[in-house]
Amino acid sequence: MAKFIKTGGKSVKSLNTSSLPDIVFMILFFFMAVTTMRETDVMVTVRIPEATEGKVLEKKSLASFVYIGEPLEAFQGLYGTEPKIQLNDTFKELADIQDFIAQEREQLNEADKTKMLVVLKIDRDTRMGVVTDVKQALRRASALKIMYANTNVDKITHIY
């Protein structure tokens, strides 16, 4: 029973931290694996509508994003409060969509070009006029696979 008898100084040994880098690296690699880089700063208010049937976007690399909504307050002085289209990091007009699609398609490799997907992130209060125009522009650019972004819920409780 001698080992339970405390002998000598009473100082508490400091915690062994030699494995701390390993742990932190582990967390780091976890984050590197599960997250994706923030690509665009959204400059419009996008409150995405609710739906129950949404499917998860599996290959983000194949997706191009189109944002439509009211410009954020900081941009309203310049762009007003009418819904605007945002492609990449700038506000664009309807006529620019075709170029944008061509450019996005160029970045995909040959095998993926047919699988290109356009994700429409549109504010729920936007009027369909703008949305229909964008859809027509996408058809003209032959980007026919689209996805209406929504948040998945079990039941739609409120219709806007």
């Binding site: 923030r38 729920r124 006029g129 058809r139 996805m147 929504n150």
Partner: protein, 180 residues
Amino acid sequence: MADIAFLLLIFFLAATTMDSDTGLMRQLPAIPDPNVPQDVNKINDRNILEVKVNKDNLLLVEGQLTEFSQLREIAHDFILNANDEPNKPEKEVVNIPFLGNVAVSKAVISLQNDIGTKYGVYIAVQNELIAARSKLRDNLARQEFGMPYDRLDEDRKGAVDDFFKVPISEAEPKRIGGDK
């Protein structure tokens, strides 16, 4: 060492996002080629479920003002046409792999919206229509293959899709008063 790792960790926390995107997948129709003669075969009226949403976000189904909550059920009953009613879609016997010769409903859903319709309402309507179709597909999958639709392999999914094709078509947008 740990300091460097922490630094990298904090950088990744700040520069990345974790949210996964979900959404309703749709396929847009290609722009019709003006040189190719259009298919003028009109779809029989009884096969079309006409859904219209106006600028005040009111729903008109087959000419009847309808509550939004009823849409899913109406679409479900319309596609299925369990009692072979004359005002609901015709059925056509086709041979589908795994299912054999089956009577398939020729239903088509036509969705029309106004320029002033809110996007949120449009998505909600699309969602209900897709939900009605998915429910029917899921029921069929359970009945025929004994498992939910999501767990079927690609070939069987294709067979179920062929049984309940039900295209959701959107009318070519009309704009009165010329181009903007």
